[in-house]
Symmetry: D2
Subunit: 338 residues, 4 copies
């Protein structure tokens, strides 16, 4: 049994971790921290939980919080895990950070996109970037993993094989993506109220969404990224465009994807454009791509559940690797459909 | 390994069975039948499936279809399993019927509510009624189980303990329930088109919905039942009203529910009125109840996922019992939330 | 031109009034007050507004606020219009109160259901109850109208003709209703967040919703009322149950409705159970009813848009009557469908 | 009174025309044709209709169908109005074609994108392209108007002023758009079933959607267009990308839009990215644009209601122009919000 702590247990990502850990054979949710809901029953915070887990109280983080813990999931607002990662790693614990603090290799990128200097730049190199399909060996041997962002996960899974195969010009990349509302987190605001979102499709964060930096880093690309909010709770679809590096066979984009993901348990290559619903509630991803000879462009699409492959699911997949477990333990590739 | 066949594998209930069996430790989906989609890959029929299961072809039912099979799930239109249940039972197989054919004890009830005589009345007594919390022993020893309907499951779980405790007058029962659209099945029609349902709340089947008969049978009650279609995919909430049998302590209804479901892994008694979303994608159920001294009435509420506890989930729970497995194998009580 | 002021212009009801007044031939929105958004452009508060109206600034209420005004719509939290109604009426202005302050005839009812004594009980008798189909003459001659609540409007329209015709026992009334989320108002809270509501159907306010009092008053009935929140923005469906006063012809309930609403421009009697979507965005209402000889009960259904016939639309209909205008001016009976 | 006929009165566009004509001061819906629903009451076909209009029967088209008619709206599947436009124009009637038959100037384009030769190429030049903001004079003097497609309307309104101002390279245009499900029409199919679409965001028609041709024609551009289906009933958002023709002031894109649409009653230029919901149920459009100096690209966004400004609303706007009426008669710019 791997004794697991969650920091930020009361948010949506915390809740999804708890739902998944309730069925995980090896990871045991042992200490659950969340300052704003400290003292409340988990069942009051996450109404989906039941049984004994619902009766556990959320704790306030304290000095002895991590005694006896093997693994820490940190699902905190950006800037917070920078403050505590050093102490966690010094204790020899494994750390999976679901926030944005350790995704960017270059502290200058963090400063530029997040508007403040990084508080623990020396620790960055100790984190593997948490997409197992692309960094499996690094994750296996890492003490710490930085979760890929939700938009970057959908984008990078769809685009990286084509960059690697030399099929597209990475400096021409446009990423147009839509997210379900859970991607905006649990904080209550008018922009994510039901009445605002129902029947609404809109872009936000024009030109300057922070996930741009991750995409550029992992793809070695220049990216113009436009996120949209769609009237659904879960799911991200990234529709990505790039200039073809050269004329190619119409099957080349799909072939590159199939080669990259052969044997992967969670990434599926589809002939048809995927729906976010195919992977809702799961750790699955679906990608496809097309070459448009008429305009000389390639279109690449990736669909995930932002809370699954885009957050809690993928980080359990990483934790499984870090502890030498079956990579698929506690995870499903099948979406809850319809 | 229990070799399992599904008849009607291409509908929504079939898809949910497949999703759940993909993670079940003991039940192995071995033969998958579905006439209208025979010959197609499962992945084309159920886009949520992935990996090897997606590549399996749907078969047309044939004489040797059940050779080597231990367990049959029949998810067929009503009237169909009457025709084949006899042969299945004669072969000694266990049978879980997800349709309506063997729910009603009295063939005359079937004839009255379904408009045609029952074709195999002698078999009815061999079926246990598939709500484990109320008929666990019968299910354990049965060769065949008839799935409770989705509306009856939500209703009976909320109401039965109060009938048994003598708190309500069963002849005064009104059941007002709302269902997600997946309850209407996969057949394509204008009434379940997105444009029709989005933003719509409406009643249907006024006075004569067939699930009334099941509720009356299991509760020993007279029931006026009004189903509604809500703009959501999954979930049933039954809001039930009855005259109080006598003045009672305000806590009496909740106490009766807590006593009935103490220790149950899938049924939770809640102080607050439950949302269908708390159990979406799971086999969980949540019930609550109130006594209104002002009007002398009791209100009882039950929430389930119509495809989970209302169909595929509950029938896997029954199959687990029939084969002496852990009753919770392959099932979650935690909803996919948000 | 009737110079019109709106108090509470920044809420959803205020926005709907503005949308409708933008096309009204006679009512001119002249002064727009809203304390929390004072100083902001209307277009920033209500993104649906465009053109000149979007550039008008929301004002803070002041002593001279109503100089030159003919008509006041007050869309304020309950308790607020009690404080100012006296001054408005003394100035000789006409007043339409969209809140709950003047709906209940008996100040003791207000105290019981709203938990505080009424601050202006002497004014109550000067308000007509704002359902034109039932109180047209009183509204025509009134200086002030109290808007019927949204749930009461849907309920009373469906039930009142059957009470009047002696078809049902008013002391047996059960009202089970579902509302879209805009009925909860514009205040931001987790219970009305998109992620909470999408895929959710749940009851709330068990036994003690304040609209019960209005229903009982207008119907001369004892009412057990259970409201539900449905995953849609607009719309209310009330499904109402009562014991039949006596056996009756199956057509009797529909006949009573047809007789009551013959020639009404906004209330339609339907053979089929109505959807909220049929009247979404409009001032229409649809009602139907059934007698169930088997259980001796009558089911009555009413559908409206809670912001239309349930609030802003119906109150413009009342204002039209108060000023001797065409009762339908500026209003549509046709829903925005699909 | 302008006596108006609708061909294809039973589809969604037909229903929206009827809803709008019910409140139009000058256009009178006189003859309503729809072969598949011929003989049915309009109220049975369009449940949003009420009053006298609901009692009108849908007619089968016949030889004398257009006697006494002044104006024809044709909302037919593509290929159908080619067969009858000649006869309608010869009678001297005005014709507004809501289908795709007369949008493309070059019959070869029609053949290429629609897969069959045009049956009436000589008539094409008699049709004005139906976006009043760009072709007002031509529409005023035309006998016939071809409705712009829904995606092209949203796209062209957002992009054309920047092409005209020389700010973007038209050969680099990428259009990524999302539509509500009503854009797929009323035919019933699994892809537009509620259970398929709810919680789903997906692309379709990769590389070859027919609206591409219209965008290229009107913008003088090369366009790669990817449409998506969003889980909402109404609305289109087009997010468009092009290479900047040259470095520019950050305000230049918005300035070009403001200059183009100054004084327009239905097109609004917004600083913030628009939501489809702002214009739902209306004839409004909202556009915005940004220059991204970092990547050298321009992003342009346009939001409309696909049934409003994208179909029925815009075509009533055109008809108003064709008959010399107030261009805004019977139309609202304000969306039904929330």
């Amino acid at each position: 049994m791997i004794r697991t702590a969650i920091l930020g247990a009361s948010g949506y990502v915390g809740g999804e971790l708890l739902r998944l850990l309730a069925r995980h054979p090896d990871l045991r949710p042992t200490r659950l921290f969340g300052d704003s809901k400290a003292g409340q029953r988990l069942g009051a915070v996450h109404p989906q939980l039941s049984g004994a887990m619902a009766e556990v109280a959320v704790e306030r983080f304290s000095d002895d919080a991590l005694d006896g813990i093997d693994l820490v999931f940190a699902a905190l607002p950006h800037g917070e895990s920078q403050k505590i990662a050093g102490a966690i790693l010094e204790r020899g614990l494994k750390l999976v950070d679901l926030g944005a603090d350790f995704r960017l290799r270059d502290p200058a990128d963090y400063a530029r996109w997040y508007g403040e200097p990084h508080a623990a730049p020396a620790l960055i190199e100790r984190f593997a970037y948490g997409i197992p399909e692309l960094h499996r060996d690094a994750i296996r041997s890492a003490q710490a993993v930085a979760a890929a962002g939700c938009y970057p996960t959908a984008t990078i899974l769809a685009v990286k094989p084509l960059v690697d195969a030399g099929l597209i010009d990475p400096d021409s990349l446009i990423v147009d993506a839509a997210s379900g509302v859970s991607g905006a987190g649990r904080a209550v605001k008018e922009g994510t109220a039901f009445n605002t979102v129902d029947g609404s499709f809109a872009a936000y964060g024009l030109l300057n969404h922070r996930h741009t930096a991750e995409m550029e880093q992992e793809l070695g690309a220049t990216v113009l990224f436009t996120p949209h909010l769609a009237p659904m709770t879960r799911g991200i679809l990234a529709t990505c465009y790039a200039a073809a590096a050269k004329p190619m066979d119409p099957d080349a984009p799909l072939a590159a994807l199939r080669q990259a993901y052969a044997g992967e348990p969670f990434v599926r290559v589809s002939d048809d454009p995927p729906s976010t619903k195919w992977v809702s509630g799961s750790n699955g991803a679906v990608v496809t791509a097309r070459y448009d000879a008429r305009t000389g462009r390639v279109v690449m699409l990736g669909a995930i559940d932002n809370l699954g492959k885009g957050a809690a699911g993928q980080m359990i997949q990483c934790a499984n690797l870090m502890f030498g477990l079956d990579e698929t333990a506690g995870l499903a590739a099948e979406g809850v459909y319809p």
